[in-house]
Symmetry: C2
Subunit: 120 residues, 2 copies
C-alpha cells in the first residue's frame, strides 16, 4: 500500500480540531499564540496552522495553567519558561488520575444501584 501525501500530512491537527478537543473557540487559540511564543505551530503553504501532538501538549499545559489553575497569562508564561518540561509530566499524571477517578465514580454509582435494588 503506497502511502499518500495525506497520510503524512495527517500527523497534524487543524485549529478547529484542537479547539474541539478542548472545547474552546479557535479565536482563543489564535490569541494565545500571540501571548505564548511556545505555541507557534507550523503553517501550510496556504497559511493554515498545523498542530503536532507536541504542539497540542503545549496547548494543554497552557490550558491547565490558565483555565484550571487560575494563572494570569503573564503568570502562566513565566511558569512555562521555568518549568515547561516538568510541567508536562505532572499534567499527564493528573490526567490519568482524573480518568481513574471517573472510573471509580461510575463504579460507585453502579454499586449503589445494586444496593438499592436489593434493598428496595
Amino acid at each position: 500500500m503506497p502511502y499518500k501525501e495525506r497520510d503524512i500530512e495527517k500527523q497534524y491537527f487543524t485549529i478547529g480540531e484542537v479547539a474541539a478537543q478542548f472545547n474552546v473557540a479557535p479565536s482563543l487559540i489564535r490569541f494565545w499564540e500571540t501571548e505564548f511564543e511556545e505555541l507557534r505551530p507550523r503553517k501550510s503553504k496556504k497559511g493554515n496552522r498545523l498542530y503536532t501532538p507536541q504542539d497540542v501538549d503545549i496547548f494543554r499545559t497552557i490550558y491547565h495553567l490558565v483555565k484550571e489553575r487560575g494563572y494570569t497569562i503573564p503568570g502562566a508564561r513565566d511558569m512555562l519558561k521555568q518549568k515547561g518540561p516538568q510541567l508536562k509530566e505532572k499534567i499527564d499524571v493528573i490526567q490519568s488520575l482524573e480518568k481513574v477517578r471517573k472510573f471509580m465514580v461510575t463504579m460507585k454509582k453502579e454499586l449503589d444501584a445494586i444496593g438499592k435494588a436489593q434493598q428496595g
Copy 2:
C-alpha cells in the same frame, strides 16, 4: 511596671502599617478583604481594621500568589483553601532563601570591588 491598655492594643497593625510593609495601597488590602474570606481582620470600636501577625501572614501568602506567582484572584482563592497552611511554610523558606541571596550578592559586589582595586 503596670501594663496599660495601649500595650495590649499594640499587638495589632493598622492597615497603613501593613500597606507600607508590602509597599501597596491600603485600597488593595481592603479590596482583597472582599475577595478572600481568610483576610477579615478584627475591627476596633471605631471601625478601624486591626491586623494580627497571623493576619499579616495570610496577606503575605495572598501577595505571594497574586503578585509574585501571577495567580488570578479566584486561582489564589482555590489555592489558599486547599493548601493554606503548607503554603505558609514554603513561603517562609522562599523568603529566607531570598535573604541569603541578597547577602551573597552584596558579598560578590564587595569581592569584585576588592579585585578591581588590586588590579587597577
